[in-house]
Structures are given as structure tokens and as C-alpha cells.
Symmetry: C2
Subunit: 335 residues, 2 copies
């Protein structure tokens, strides 16, 4: 059981009052893997649900070295100046409890971390993307109930984390570099078509020309690709956390996007679809968790998985065997 | 139980002898939803597994109207002339038993359907993509064991079917049109980055110029996007089922791709990863099936799903409730 455990009412009151310490404790509760904590966490999220949702949710991705932390610090500061309250969350399944995540690392966003109108939280730790992103989503709802009206969700290209973040935000922003042919370095296939906006970063000093060139190329290229179902073509701009160039434009683009989507009804439609997808994903996650934690299943998987990989054991035959074992174990006793 | 039920040995002998009638009956067995048929089907697939895999697997997609059937007929004919044996399968979750699928429709590929060195099969019917693609995969293994060394898997953009087909083939081909700004009509976001090759179709008559222009644009655009992890940039060519232009080039491109991937080891690595992914997907599919077929789960879902969609019921809270009900039902009795 976590420390400083409160009642649902106490957490709720603190969150709605915008108490950042209580918010942090509530997120710690959300992140706990203990069943009794999970029950309390579920009740809390249900209780604050009516107060959530009043924000714009922005996903931010880009390869290591593109300058995400510096960008978030500079971008977040501009938003604070505009009167926003900014929460920074992260999805990083590679983070571990002892090591901490490089994302949402307050030491890399010191100025923002010190501002009371901002709230920064590292990624939950966890062994699966499903588990980690579920916790980040719930933390997002708590932040919204606490009055934060811009939620930035950071991710770095580990596994399918961009897809998970794309599924929980309104606008997905890709940061890229320009120059010396290294624009694409490390960007996974499929990410560019996922982006609602692309910002060519570090567009300052000697790099300005290369950045502007890249902007033109990518603007043209992305127009050759299908728009989103809401008709939006990804916007491409240049920016610099050093000079501040492009950051205001970035925010205006996001505002324009939100305006269009609200008017067309797509904004709410998208959020409603995301909620149903989250339900599906949670169900799959919980089913898969129970399945993989079952002792006999683990045994058989360890013994035979290599044969599936090698092509000597049919995946469907093996899956059916595992399923029989799993359901048999339930009739024996629930483990 | 299906008609003409044979023993595993009888099916296996017929398939290995290249008997097309037995192959068709075996695929019908694979497609059956009856538990006793599934058990027999699993044994059969396991038995022919060592004889499968000796083929190139090519996925083909494109919007309705792009000319898929005509392309497959023309392309398939060229492959037969090169001494190949060609199987044409399909993934179309919208197909229903009574209506039949428009994909793999023999009446649209009459010449090919009449050739004994070709084998055409419509998509399995089914209510979920997971169920349909699992059956198509198994049919693919049977076709390979029967000696077909080129497997074409057709799909049309329904739901996530392109992703499913991409996950079961070696090379993914996107057919597109050119001209009058309708190139992107109906193509879903994300499909272009999925393609290993793009063929601008109907490059004949008055349309030749537009097709060549589109080829240049897309070649340049796709070079601005990250290559596959195997280093391959999608190849873009023009083609016409009418004149035959580009079809030979299409095959040479696929051969070149296969050669490169075999040399680098990626070909086998990719197939091994696909097998493990199929195992994961089957497990998820079977778990989900058992879950959704459980009566109390269906009841609660029907009653409360709209509240999740509307944002008044937390997806995680609800998922946990459903999970409790599901596992409780197992301890009572296995339904």
C-alpha cells in the first residue's frame, strides 16, 4: 500500500483545488501495481471524470538529440505567458523505477519545473507499453481535473509508443532536424504519416538555410500523401528553442487545428472513439496480463516459443494449446 | 462438420501431390468455425508445416476502382509464363458467406482461374479481422505445401486489413491511379509508408503523361521518408494491365527485393518475427473471442458501453468490472 493513502474524497478535493502535491500523490496511486491501490485509483478516476477533458492534448515525439526537452521548456514557457496551465507527461516503456525516465526529466526543464503553473511528471515505469500508457492516460485525466488546460505527452521512439500516444492526444507533433542528410535518422516508418504537425527544430545560426529547405521539401511531400479523415494536411514549420522562432506559430497552428476540429465536430468524435479504443486496449491488456502471469502458460511458452519462431510449430496450434491450459487452470483455481 | 471430411493423412497426401480439389477442401476445413473441424485443421497445418514457406508472399492493395482484379490477372499470367505457380488469396472482413467477396472473385480473373497452374480463393468470411486473417494465413501455408511458389494476398482498405496483410507477406504492393488530382482518393493514412512498392496503374492511352508525372512526384516524396529497417526505399513504377507495360518490371523489382533481403538475412528474420507476431495475435484473438462470447460480459457491455463513449464511465474502471465478471464466470462454469 502506498504512503499517505487518502480517501477518494480527500484526493478529489485536493485535485479540484489544484493542489499540486495531492495531484502528485494521486498519480503515484494510479501508478501503483497493488490490487488494493488499483481499486482506490479506479474509484478516484471515476469520481473526477466529470471534471476532466477540458484541455488540449498534444503528443510530442522525435529522435533522441532532436531537442525535445529544450523545446518543451521553451514552448511550455510561451504557453504559461499566454495564461495556460501546462502539464508535461510521458510514455516511455523503457524507464525503470530506479533509473527514471529521460523523458519528463525535471532537471532538463528546470525553469518550467519551478513554475507553479506547470506540472512535470516522468513516465510511469512498467514492463509493457499497454500498462504504461494506461497509467499516463489516467494521470492526464487527473491533471485536467486539477485545472491544467494544456497537456503535453512526450514519447521517444521505443516500440509502438508513438502509436499509443497518438491514441490519447488531439494533436500529434513530430520534431525533426535538418541538414547533412540526417533528417530521417532514427525516425521509424509510419511516424511521419501519423503527425498533425512537423517542426524542423534547431532552425538557428548556420542551420537556418537547411531548415527552410527541409520545410519546403516536407511540405510538398506531405501534400502528396492522404490527409487525415478530418481533411487536415500536416503543417510543417521551422523552429528554434534558442531564438524562440516558430514556437508561437506552432501554438497558433494547434489552436487553428482545434478550432477547425471543434467546428466540424471531429474533435469530440475523435475523443469518443479514443475512449472506446482505450476500453478495448484495457480489456486486451488485462486479459493478456492474466494469461501471461499464469504459471503453466509461462512454462509452455518458455519450452516451445522457439519452435514457433523457427517455423516448426504452427502458431495457431500452439495458441490453442496455450488457451486450453489457461482456461483449465481457471477451473482448477484462479491464480 | 464439413462435408467430405478426410483424415489428416489424406488431406496431406493430396496437398503434397498438388491436388487442387483436396487443397480447396482443406481450406474449407480451415475456414470452418466448428471446434471439431478446428482440431483437425490444427493437426493438418502442423503436419504440412515443414513443406510450407517456399514461396514469395506478395500483398496487394489499392482503392476500389484502381484495377486490382485486372492487374492480378495480367500480373499472374506473366508469372505463369515464367514457370511460377500462383495462388491468389484475400483478406476482406466485410465479406459474408452468402454474398461472397469481391476480392478473389474468379469471374473477374477468368483466364487465370481457368489455368491449372493458378489457384484462386475468395476471402474467408468472418466477423473480425483477426479471425479472417488467421484463416488466410493458414490457407497460405497449405497453398505453399501444394507447390504454389507465388502467393498474392489481396485486400481492400477495410479497417486495418492492410496492416494484417502487411504482417503476413514479404512484399507489400500498393496500386494507385494518376491524374485529375484523385491519386489519393480513398487511400488511408499510413498505407503509403507501409508499401515496399507503388505501381501507378492504368498508365496507358491519354493517361500516360499523368502517370509518369505521378511516378516522379511519388519517387521523390517517398525518398524524403524513412526507409524500412532493411534499408529499402519503396520503388515507384508505372504499369498497365492493358498494354502489359511495367508488369515485368514489377516482378523484377520484387525479385531484386527478395534477393537483397535473402542476402542480408532480413528475409528469414522478418518471417520469424511474423511467426511470433501471429502467435501473439492468435492468443489475443482467442482470449478476446472467449471474453466477448461470455453472456454476462455481453450484457454489461451492452448496458454501459455508451457511457464510456460519452465520457461518463472511466474505461479502466469498466474494463476491470468486465474482467471480474469474466473470470467469475469461469469459476462457476466454463461457458
Amino acid at each position: 500500500m502506498i504512503k499517505n493513502r487518502k480517501s477518494v474524497e480527500e484526493y478529489k478535493a485536493g485535485i479540484l483545488a489544484g493542489d499540486r502535491a495531492v495531484l502528485a500523490q494521486a498519480i503515484t496511486l494510479i501508478e501503483s501495481n497493488l490490487p488494493s491501490d488499483s481499486v482506490l485509483a479506479s474509484s478516484l478516476v471515476q469520481a473526477i471524470l466529470p471534471f476532466s477533458g477540458k484541455s488540449i492534448r498534444i503528443g510530442i515525439t522525435g529522435v533522441p538529440g532532436v531537442g525535445k526537452s529544450t523545446f518543451i521548456e521553451a514552448f511550455g514557457t510561451i504557453l504559461l505567458e499566454k495564461g495556460k496551465k501546462v502539464a508535461v507527461l510521458a510514455v516511455d516503456p523503457s524507464s525503470q523505477k530506479t533509473k527514471g525516465s529521460i523523458l519528463g526529466d525535471k532537471t532538463r526543464m528546470e525553469k518550467l519545473a519551478a513554475d507553479r503553473r506547470a506540472f512535470i511528471r516522468p513516465s510511469p515505469s512498467g514492463s509493457t507499453l499497454g500498462g504504461v500508457s494506461a497509467k499516463t492516460r489516467e494521470a492526464m485525466l487527473l491533471c485536467e481535473a486539477a485545472g491544467f488546460d494544456v497537456i503535453l505527452v512526450e514519447t521517444v521512439g521505443v516500440g509502438q509508443s508513438e502509436t499509443a500516444v497518438k491514441g490519447m492526444v488531439d494533436f500529434f507533433l513530430l520534431l525533426m532536424l535538418a541538414g547533412a542528410g540526417d533528417e530521417l535518422q532514427g525516425i521509424k516508418k509510419g511516424i511521419m504519416e501519423m503527425a498533425d504537425g512537423v517542426l524542423i527544430n534547431k532552425a538557428d545560426g548556420e542551420n537556418i538555410q537547411a531548415a527552410k529547405k527541409a520545410k519546403t521539401h516536407y511540405r510538398n511531400a506531405l501534400h502528396l500523401f492522404p490527409p487525415s479523415e478530418n481533411g487536415w494536411y500536416p503543417s510543417v514549420i521551422t523552429g528554434s528553442s534558442l531564438t524562440g522562432e516558430g514556437l508561437g506559430e506552432c501554438w497558433e497552428t494547434i489552436e487553428k487545428y482545434q478550432q477547425k476540429m471543434l467546428e466540424s465536430g471531429f474533435f469530440e468524435k475523435n475523443r469518443a472513439e479514443q475512449r472506446l479504443k482505450w476500453l478495448d486496449e484495457y480489456v486486451q491488456y488485462l486479459l493478456g496480463k492474466a494469461f501471461h502471469e499464469q504459471a503453466k502458460v509461462q512454462e509452455l511458452l518458455a519450452a516451445e516459443k522457439e519452435h514457433v519462431k523457427a517455423g516448426t510449430l504452427s502458431p495457431l496450434t500452439f495458441a490453442r494449446q496455450l488457451m486450453d491450459i489457461f482456461f483449465e487452470s481457471f477451473q482448477a483455481n484462479r491464480t
